[in-house]
Symmetry: C2
Subunit: 468 residues, 2 copies
């Protein structure tokens, strides 16, 4: 992790102020002492204290406009700093100030809200998810101003730090819609993810979308005796199994007509860059996936399957008897829950419509099928590799971390997708966590050199975005 020559000014500023920013009581450590657990109503006051702490910190950092924005739930914090010049781009920086619950508390080696430094690691809830990554930007903008010698950043900076990310962001899309004009920007920067590995700095370029459905099949009006009726009437559990079995072909491809029509194909360059990541599939299968084998769509590697290909997954199935021993019935009903992970340009609406039509076309005689959609779903988002803002972020990362910056994506979905689809701008995921930071688990930590490198990357980012 070397700093490029010529970036000495930023690097020196960050290195000189890192301890104050990350370990000081007016910095990250002080903020981490506030247990801003959004999922637990007992902590409502603490989430508000966290918002107020951040309000003061943004003021101290020099943002001319800082405001606590109320929602139907917990408060967000918003700040604006207009650029020095009139033609500068506008950036919206997203993060969150709430944290995950700490259960089980007995597994923590130090108090979750008593931050503790051990070696080059800082332990405590919110260290990396996401308070640490917000502080990175406070230090970053200070380093940027120091290095440029200007009183305002090279871009117009809008900072939106929500307070409900860890409880599903129920009020985030309404917040975005209500303030869409105010949040108008040219690019969104999200700092709430990880690099691929400590020695493999990377940017995340997109997230899969999601839509969920339940299918209910009905056969006989009542459970029937399998002796008297078995072999003569439709069995909805068997019919459901055939329906599910038909959802994928022998190559693991989803068979719903049109499912892949809007899927943006991976380019050779993207595949080549994915292939450069030191992804050890066997270790992944045995480790985080806790499985016996990899599986999935033929013709794609595991990272490609997880990040760049849509899926149809079964989340649950039930019908008939599930108690001890046996019960010789033909069940009246069978049910399954399906979730679809989507990639650009698939949309939840189109996928549900296609799924409904497919279920209708494949429902066997004597079976009545209904499809229920669970929730609106989430649109996928993806910033193309040649996007100028992503190029700028890549250069900023290269300057901060040294060496080649690779690209990942996330398989899941977050409120970030709302940013892309409501504000209709590219989203850059520039995160400084590591995969083994134990977010959401006991002993969450952040690696302090990652925060320092992050602050440098953040400082360079405003310069690079203004240059584009």
């Amino acid at each position: 992790m070397t700093i490029n020559i010529g970036d000495r000014s930023v690097a020196e500023y960050v290195d000189a102020h890192a301890d104050e920013a990350f370990l000081g009581e007016d910095g990250l450590v002080g903020w981490m002492r506030i247990p801003s657990i959004s999922a637990d109503p007992a902590y409502v006051g603490e989430v508000r204290s966290s918002a107020e702490w951040l309000f003061r910190a943004l003021r101290r950092a020099g943002f001319p406009t800082v405001e606590i924005i109320e929602t139907a739930g917990l408060p967000a914090v918003y700040a604006e700093w207009p650029a020095a010049g009139p033609d500068a781009p506008t950036v919206l920086l997203y993060g969150h100030h709430d944290v995950q619950p700490v259960d089980p508390p007995e597994l923590w080696n130090s108090g979750p809200f008593e931050p503790e430094v051990r070696g080059e690691e800082l332990f405590g809830r919110g260290a990396v998810d996401d308070k640490g990554q917000v502080i990175v930007h406070l230090l970053g903008v200070a380093a940027h101003l120091h290095a440029t010698g200007r009183a305002a950043p090279a871009v117009t900076l809008k900072v939106l730090i929500e307070g409900e990310e860890e409880s599903g962001s129920p009020n985030f899309a309404p917040l975005l819609r209500a303030h869409a004009e105010r949040f108008r920007c040219d690019v969104v920067v999200v700092s709430d993810t990880s690099v691929f590995a400590r020695d493999t700095p990377s940017l995340c370029t997109g997230m899969r979308g999601l839509v969920e459905c339940q299918v209910d099949l009905r056969g006989p009006d009542v459970d029937l005796h399998s002796g008297s009726f078995g072999g003569g009437v439709p069995n909805p559990v068997a019919a459901l199994a055939r329906l599910i079995a038909g959802l994928h072909d022998a190559d693991g491809k989803v068979t719903i007509p049109g499912f892949y029509d809007r899927v943006v194909t991976l380019s050779d360059r993207e595949r080549a860059l994915f292939a450069k990541l030191p992804f050890d599939t066997d270790a992944w299968v045995r480790g985080p996936a806790r499985s016996l084998a990899a599986a999935g769509e033929a013709g794609f590697t595991t990272p490609e399957r997880l990040w760049a290909r849509p899926t149809a997954e079964l989340n649950g199935v039930w019908g008939g008897y599930s108690g001890p021993g046996g019960k010789t019935i033909i069940p009246s009903e069978a049910h399954a829950k399906f979730s679809f992970r989507l990639v650009v340009d698939q949309t939840p609406d189109e996928v549900v419509d296609a799924f409904r039509a497919w279920v209708e076309a494949h429902t066997e005689p004597g079976i009545v099928a209904t499809v229920h959609r669970n929730g609106p779903g989430v649109r996928p988002c993806l910033t193309p590799l040649d996007d100028p803002a992503l190029q700028a972020a890549t250069r900023a990362m290269e300057r901060a971390f040294g060496g080649e910056i690779l690209y990942t994506r996330e398989g899941g979905s977050g409120p970030e997708a709302d940013l892309a689809s409501i504000l209709r701008v590219p989203v850059i995921f520039m995160g400084f966590g590591l995969p083994d930071d134990r977010i959401h688990a006991p002993n969450e930590r952040v690696v302090l050199p990652m925060l320092r490198a992050g602050a440098k990357a953040a400082a360079y980012l405003w310069e690079e975005l203004a240059r584009r």
Copy 2:
């Protein structure tokens, strides 16, 4: 329902004594007042009273040996009456003196244990299942003795009336094994079934067997996040669906290798006789099957599917999330319960072995499957149409009911299969119920003319069996 000329003696005796046998307090009505519910421990004493009532009735009927046989559960009643001559065949007559519970009591139009005659029907629990059909034989043997003018029946009569049939006959097989020598016979006669319809008298020639299994599939060690892992690891619910879907081919045939190897094929004559039954498939689908369509093995009619073809049915399936809304997981486990209805000469052991091998051969990479057998299962039984005892029963029915006697089978299993497999003799199912007698339901009834015709058929049966 006319009585053949030449059988005046039996017919006159039955008609003269039917009211006493079926409506008298020393006859069926008195017995029906005893609530011998075997499934409810509160009625243990009543089941014993029922056994004692039957003990006295068999004594009164003239059986020289009558005995209450204790089991590990509720008592059976056993009686013997040696034939007049030395070369006569030995018949074991099977029935049961326990009854079903009466829930819900408010749906009964008269008290379940206060027998009531309305028109030609007698209402009350046990009217047809099975006390009425036992009394048929007491009247039948009296008519037989009256008509033949002898002091002993033309066959050696062994009567075994168990007390736990309605609670699954848990002690019946051990009872048969413990007394196998004593129960030795040439044929078993079971009177606990129905004719096809009031104007279509019939004999049942067999019952399907049964064996049950549970299959457990395991994929990842824990439920996984479908965003982070979806598309990259095996999903046991989807794998289970494919396993189940592969259990039948497009013609509805079970695909397990060897499954049909031991199935005795329906003869052209059996199929022709089945086809003579006025079985209205549409009415059956809409009526008792409460379904929207018939379904099953191609090339067979619904009665053939239900009675003469083996099945693999799904009784239940579960795995993953089944609560409200969605949960974006890849489940760790998936489970299904299977039951197989068997026909001669399939055996539970062989079918389970073949199923285990098939599951093993069709388990996908990354999935661990285990097959658990639920219980020993029941062997199928079938008496061929050319069996001399069945021929004798057919002639007895023809004489009692007039017209052609057709043949049915039962799709389910009962303790009768134990009789066939433990005693290793043919079983004749000569029952006098009707399909709409509401057995096991409120307002169980028996049609009194069916009991009278049954008593005549029973009287002729001993004569016909001795003649064979």
